[in-house]
């Protein structure tokens, strides 16, 4: 479980995130949704500590991450896996080296243990026989999968995904979403997914936090999202025709 309290962040004199609090539950896929430019990525980066928030505190299972000392931070970081918007694979390293990288840095496993673990994770995301390919030689969807494999290789307790299916076709998007959901269920981890894709919301949104211009306007589940009564959320949800026709019923 991850809890955030009163997170705010400004860049120069423009406030991007306004005093957001919330709880992201363990074993669930927690979604942060909102239109482009509302600060979803900034919020996610504040939670993992890539951005230092101006105010507010982040707790990982009760452990204060924001004010933690070096050792504590390192310990929590070891339990974090993150998938970036573009995959963020190291392009000078092969697929196998990419996935193995966190193990090299964070663990003292033997080479054979590492290889086994890497192959297990690659298989888990449905990739085989690509170990020696370079990131430039594989497709966008495959990069995302390699990114997921790298994020889960060190058995994280917390998984963060920034727009896991941006730039993918609808079918592949669903596969990636389901993969994230399965991994969350299998390993009982706390997963936070940033997305603006309504398909993902209706597919895997167990707990949803809606951001609008840097403020949290609503939270709930995918079952409740149609009946929120929040105008901004309705505008976001019912943008496409199919959803609009659903609303009329």
């Amino acid at each position: 479980m991850i809890e955030i309290q009163n997170i705010s962040k400004s860049f120069e004199d423009k406030q991007i995130i306004h005093n957001i609090s919330g709880i992201f539950e363990k074993g669930k896929t927690n979604l942060i949704i909102g239109a482009s430019g509302t600060g979803k990525s900034v919020l996610l980066k504040s939670i993992v500590g890539l951005i230092q928030p101006d105010t507010g505190t982040v707790f990982y299972d009760g452990r204060n991450f924001t004010d933690a000392d070096k050792e504590m931070k390192a310990e929590i970081r070891r339990e974090i896996g993150m998938l970036f918007q573009g995959g963020a694979l190291f392009d000078s390293k092969s697929v196998e080296q990419n996935v193995m990288f966190p193990l090299n840095i964070l663990t003292k496993m033997s080479p054979t243990e590492k290889i086994d673990r890497v192959n297990f994770c690659l298989k888990r995301v449905g990739l085989e026989n690509v170990n020696n390919k370079m990131p430039s030689e594989i497709s966008g969807g495959m990069k995302k999968r390699v990114g997921i494999a790298r994020a889960i290789v060190n058995n994280p307790n917390y998984l963060f995904c920034d727009e896991p299916n941006s730039g993918l076709d609808p079918q592949t998007s669903i596969l990636i979403d389901e993969l994230i959901k399965e991994i969350t269920d299998d390993f009982e981890i706390t997963t936070i997914v940033v997305t603006h894709d309504m398909n993902s919301v209706m597919g895997i949104g167990e707990k949803i936090l809606f951001l609008f211009q840097g403020q949290k306007l609503w939270e709930g589940s995918k079952e409740e999202i149609m009946y929120s009564g929040v105008e901004e959320l309705d505008n976001f949800v019912f943008t496409n025709k199919v959803m609009q026709s659903l609303k009329k019923k």
């Binding site: 890539l50 070096k70 390192a74 070891r78 963020a88 694979l89 190291f90 392009d91």
Partner: protein, 242 residues
């Protein structure tokens, strides 16, 4: 001025929270190959030609029966050691190695690879940048020695093949009135330039924001700024040490 302050902070962040020494050893080795070994061809080519051309032009300017022939190679030696090898080559080094360092880091920044390292708890500055700077400080002086040798060799080849100067005169000129301090001076310059070029280029690349266009801008700025820094440092060092 604000940029200079940020550069100093950047340098400070290099030395905190380091990974294990073993990790660095491997990274530095890889960088040495990139920075040093892969520059050999270009350095050999450029310095041999500059050495050859300097010889021909010095000879052209010294047509006087009063000046002995060995003065030609003597002048070539002084120019090579004091300026051509350490300084002119630094400009080439900035163009080749500096721009590639900056482009490399800039791309890693905009594709979030640097964020990915940070999430894993790695101090990306010291992990990515420190090996590059150490490799440059180690390799650039060696490249300077190498280009010095190439330049003198190029001068020898052209000078003797075209009959401007006899082999004995050329060698005599090289050894005539030799002051070892010029070599110390050249290597001191090489150390400083190696550090300046790599750290400035990494700094420019590391803080790239935006997209592919900005990566290109950062690389250009990296070369411009390091060339200016090299020229200013060249002047200051000459004032201080000569």
């Amino acid at each position: 001025m604000k940029g200079f302050g940020r550069y100093m902070i950047f340098l400070g962040s290099l030395v905190v929270r380091r990974e294990s020494l073993g990790t660095y050893y491997k990274l530095v080795l890889e960088e040495c190959i990139l920075v040093g070994v892969k520059s050999l061809f270009l350095f050999a080519l450029v310095s041999t030609f500059i050495g050859a051309v300097t010889t021909v032009q010095t000879a052209y300017n010294l047509v006087s029966p009063l000046v002995p022939n060995y003065i030609i190679s003597n002048v070539v030696r002084e120019m090579t050691i004091l300026e051509l090898a350490p300084t002119i080559m630094a400009l080439i080094f900035a163009g080749k190695v500096g721009s590639s360092m900056s482009g490399n880091l800039g791309t890693m920044r905009i594709t979030e690879q640097i964020d990915a390292l940070e999430v894993m708890g790695i101090n990306a500055t010291s992990y990515l940048v420190l090996p590059k700077i150490i490799a440059s400080i180690l390799m650039y002086p060696m490249l300077v020695i190498f280009s010095g040798a190439c330049a003198l060799g190029g001068g020898y080849l052209v000078g003797t093949l075209t009959g401007i100067i006899s082999p004995t005169d050329y060698i005599y000129g090289l050894r005539y009135a030799f002051n070892e301090y010029t070599v110390t001076f050249a290597l001191t310059k090489a150390l400083v330039f190696g550090f300046l070029i790599s750290s400035i280029s990494c700094f420019k690349g590391y803080y790239t924001k935006g997209g592919a266009f900005e990566v290109g801008v950062a690389s250009t700025e990296a070369v411009t700024t390091s060339v200016m820094a090299v020229l200013i440092a060249d002047y200051l060092l000459a004032q201080l040490l000569l």
